[in-house]
Symmetry: C2
Subunit: 290 residues, 2 copies
């Protein structure tokens, strides 16, 4: 390390200090972090008060975290980093179902349910979701498992409203039939805001960004011999579909939840007319043999 | 914002989300942060467990902070970011004294002292520091103020050892004489480690980096009509002079603390022989007229 720290040699000096890192992967990560972080600092040339503000912000983000709240994940989400990492890790055949972030609400085990069951335990406006799970080559995947969770038609998950919603409301663990097909009843979820009572919320306010996520249903779909996918199905006509606060929308994941006003079709699903109907196919990639 | 998040358009989409930021400086900073942060992620392609580890690390850094400990500043220091920001903000005439980080130990007001006073209240091995303060054009700066603080010959600041050192030990506020000259008595400080009992310490261990700072005395030097400088004077023969854990060493700030074994010179300073002697000149830039 040089005994002279200058703007020109700063990044080199700090990268050099990591030269003896035993784990080569950690060395690569720290070297890259230093290069990009120093490039950012040289780019914006922060004043000392701006640097102090950045330190205070990061400290507040860390201190907002507890066993129920992860403000650094929220910060990562709001900067599109979570989705970028998810997307990098889900590079696969172009045809497979695209992945999105897991999100912070997969905290309760989804109760096992039978095909056709309603995951809406409170009796809201009925919605039917049908679909099937197949492999990239078209083969149906019998017995595929679907872990499903969503917000209510008011935009809240069960765990956010313990006094209003029973635990397990709008959650379900389903097993596809012999044709890889599945269906369940629910309500159409509402858009909702990410938590705004912390430093990330203050940042959104200061930058005129809204905190909303467009309406969506979460899925983790898995099948033997295949790579599982963590994804959302988005409601096509939802507000904020073009400006998700966490950047999770992919066009291929948007579905019409169309209004069906047909008594025969309604009675086939055991719901009153009119009802909403969405159909989705999940395509999984075959797992490479070790 | 596009309704399709891809690796290729991710950074653009997130930068676009900040387009309505009212404060143009904040918009610039957030846009640059997103560009560099996404470039880092695309560069290292973190796995999901690596991303989770990064979230956990940053959370632990934030949670280690309290009113006496600022682990995010320590992280910034250990990545050379604090020194880079300091250096960018202290661009001036090449001839002025170079600046370094303030550090975390300027927490007690330095007691006013007379020229020649000892800041060592415990009677260690004597050291004399002499020098003067001048303007870039050579004009002496009478009445220049020097705020001075340092670690002991065991490597601890007074505030770290409240049971051993009296408050104000090895701290002093001096006023230069009519020629801009100053001198004071002290002990030669020791090198010391930055705090290692937090996540930054764990990072240093994992990367085989030592936590030590070479021996130094802190100065904030100010004079009417001039830009103050926050700096260190480093002890030339100190261990770690070539590998400061926070990258604060600049060659121009290193001084010999030479052994003087001369009774006449010793008695002129009112110390026993042998003693250590260092001389330093501080050069301040004239403040531009608003």
């Amino acid at each position: 390390m040089a005994t002279d720290f200058t703007e020109a040699n700063a990044a080199d000096a700090v990268v050099d200090s990591f030269a003896d890192t035993p784990d080569p992967r950690l060395r690569t990560i720290m070297s890259s972090l230093v290069r990009h972080l120093h490039a950012f600092v040289r780019d914006v040339e922060p004043t000392l008060p701006e640097w102090e503000q950045a330190i205070d912000f990061l400290t507040a983000v860390g201190q907002k975290c507890d066993d129920k709240r992860q403000e650094f994940i929220l910060f990562s989400d709001a900067l599109g980093v979570s989705m970028l990492v998810e997307t990098i890790n889900a590079r696969g055949a172009a045809e497979t179902t695209a992945s999105t972030v897991l999100g912070p609400f997969h905290v309760v085990e989804s109760p096992p349910r039978e095909l056709g069951d309603s995951i809406d335990l409170l009796g809201g406006e009925p919605c039917v979701v049908t679909g099937r799970v197949r492999s990239v080559d078209g083969t149906p995947l019998p017995g595929a498992r679907l872990d499903i969770w969503q917000a209510s038609d008011r935009g809240f998950y069960d765990v956010q409203q313990p006094d209003v919603q029973p635990e397990g409301n709008l959650r379900g663990l389903f097993t596809a039939d012999a044709d890889g097909a599945f269906w369940f009843r629910t309500v159409v979820p509402s858009y909702y805001p990410i938590p705004t009572d912390g430093p990330v919320g203050q940042l959104l306010t200061a930058t005129n960004r809204h905190p909303y996520r467009p309406a969506h249903i979460h899925f983790i779909v898995s099948a033997d011999g295949h790579v599982p996918v963590t994804t959302h199905v988005f409601v096509a006509d939802s507000p904020y579909i073009d400006s998700d606060a966490v950047f999770a929308v992919k066009r291929s994941l948007i579905r019409e939840f169309r209004v069906v006003d047909d008594e025969d079709e309604a009675s086939a699903y055991g719901v009153p007319a009119p009802f909403r109907l969405a159909t989705v196919e999940f395509v999984l990639e075959r797992r490479e043999q070790g």
